[in-house]
Symmetry: C2
Subunit: 290 residues, 2 copies
């Protein structure tokens, strides 16, 4: 497995594979890879013949008060993980390669970037959409794989691809969790032992929502209230940033759980902000004539 650093190199490497009739897969990452990323790479490998993993810590998606400077960096370790997961090429461009002097173009996905994480991270999804659009144009993959953990990001990218007619298939892979249910995240490494002990509360609150829906509860407001209560009890070190139940595609809040809905939450611990989500599915009653 090779590493390439420039746009010219990635283009020529991918063009050579395409000429041989290979289907190209892309897994965009910011590095600090964990089992979640590795599951994306393995999925990309099943969906394509030649998997590119991009590793680019994108300044444009960090707010001025966010953790860009302390975000974990380990290109050597990341590369080894890419190789183990079956990647064919790592693309690790420089910041000046991605944002040369005079850069002034942005892609915005309005409508999907107001609620949930957007409220506390202004400009974040614009930074994500822009860099992903650029990566798609550089690599020109047939398929790209993203993780469901960043559910809003996945929705934004799917919308952008559809709206801008980008010729790429988007696959969203399920969340990979630690043994105790905590969703894998590069930011979990920031947690103190006490915070880490409380972090599974996010998952517990999601499971509570699932149980409540299964029991027949339909009111989003009531379910959110119960979840917030549980988070307050199980994760006293954290501050609940949001608990939301939204439409799975357009991310607009729903009032009643009818069919499918996404329940998503963010909890801010002193050392790291964590997010998690799951899909709620109302079980339709079996018709009496069945």
């Amino acid at each position: 497995m090779h590493i390439v650093l420039t746009i010219r190199q990635i283009r020529s490497a991918v063009a050579a594979q395409r000429k041989r009739g290979k289907r190209i897969g892309l897994v965009p990452t910011m590095g600090a890879l964990h089992q979640g990323h590795m599951s994306l790479i393995r999925l990309a490998k099943r969906k394509s013949d030649f998997v590119v993993v991009s590793i680019f810590l994108n300044p444009a998606q960090f707010g001025p008060k966010e953790d860009l400077s302390k975000y974990p960096r380990d290109l050597k370790g990341d590369t080894a993980k890419c190789r183990r997961a079956g990647a064919d090429l790592v693309f690790a461009p420089s910041v000046s390669g991605i944002y040369p002097q005079g850069f002034c173009t942005n892609v915005t996905v309005e409508g999907l970037t107001e609620g949930l994480c957007a409220a506390s991270r202004p400009g974040h999804f614009r930074g994500v959409a822009t860099v992903v659009c650029k990566l798609f144009n550089m690599v020109q993959p047939d398929v790209a794989v993203f993780g469901q953990k960043d559910a809003q990001q996945a929705a934004v990218i799917k919308r952008m691809v559809s709206d801008l007619n980008l010729p790429v298939e988007i696959v969203v892979a399920p969340i990979v969790r630690e043994r105790d249910g905590l969703a894998m995240s590069s930011r979990n490494a920031y947690l103190t032992p006490a915070e880490r002990a409380q972090a599974p509360a996010l998952r517990h609150a999601l499971q509570l929502a699932k149980r409540l829906v299964k029991k027949g509860r339909r009111s989003a407001e009531a379910i959110k209230r119960e979840m917030a209560k549980m988070l307050d009890i199980e994760a006293p070190l954290g501050v609940v940033e949001y608990v939301e139940i939204v439409d799975n595609e357009n991310l607009k809040p729903v009032r009643r759980i009818d069919g499918k809905a996404l329940v998503a939450l963010a909890v801010k611990f002193p050392s790291a902000r964590l997010i998690d989500n799951t899909v709620l599915q109302r079980l339709m009653p079996v018709p009496t004539w069945a």
Copy 2:
């Protein structure tokens, strides 16, 4: 020559040509084609093997008070002109095909979209950049041709292509003019005979700027003053919206003409707003040792 109406059709038509090794050219237009557009098509034909002309009257680049509803439409006449100019395919998508329900993604090129036409046409260049990005992703041309008459548009597209790493070559074709010097434009058809008689004043003012630079004048302010004076005299029916001398690439105003600069102007007649531009080039003195 065929006409296709849907994204699926254009994709499959272009894919068939690409499979045969053909180089694809694109000329994006809003219809109401004139000799200027035909020169773009002929140029695209020289730069590629298979020329697609898109005809799409893009609502997103018209302001609420602009002339979308009265903009000339003549798909049949336009198609005949495309055929005569050597186009291979006309792509005439519907508004709902380009902007389906829920559409919410935009491409903005900040920095180039503040001065010149942007001041009086808020949102115009966002609409242009977004639809051109979409067209590039639908057609995936190797080369796309735009006219120099819309100099700011050409600069915005070039910047977008570079910033978003779109894999397409942008060619900008020279302005085509009527016998009396008026730059060809679909909007010239709106002019009353009296306005039409005064419209060559735009070109005369540009020629004046060229003469002044040739004579050694360097101050942008002084040149712009002389131009505005001439426009007031030659085109009393028009109101000068702007006369600007800017850097050819980043469109920032320049104070002195050193090397190349773009001089651009807009004049609002009661029946139509006209624009025109030319490149000013300072002739460097012949070195004494030559």
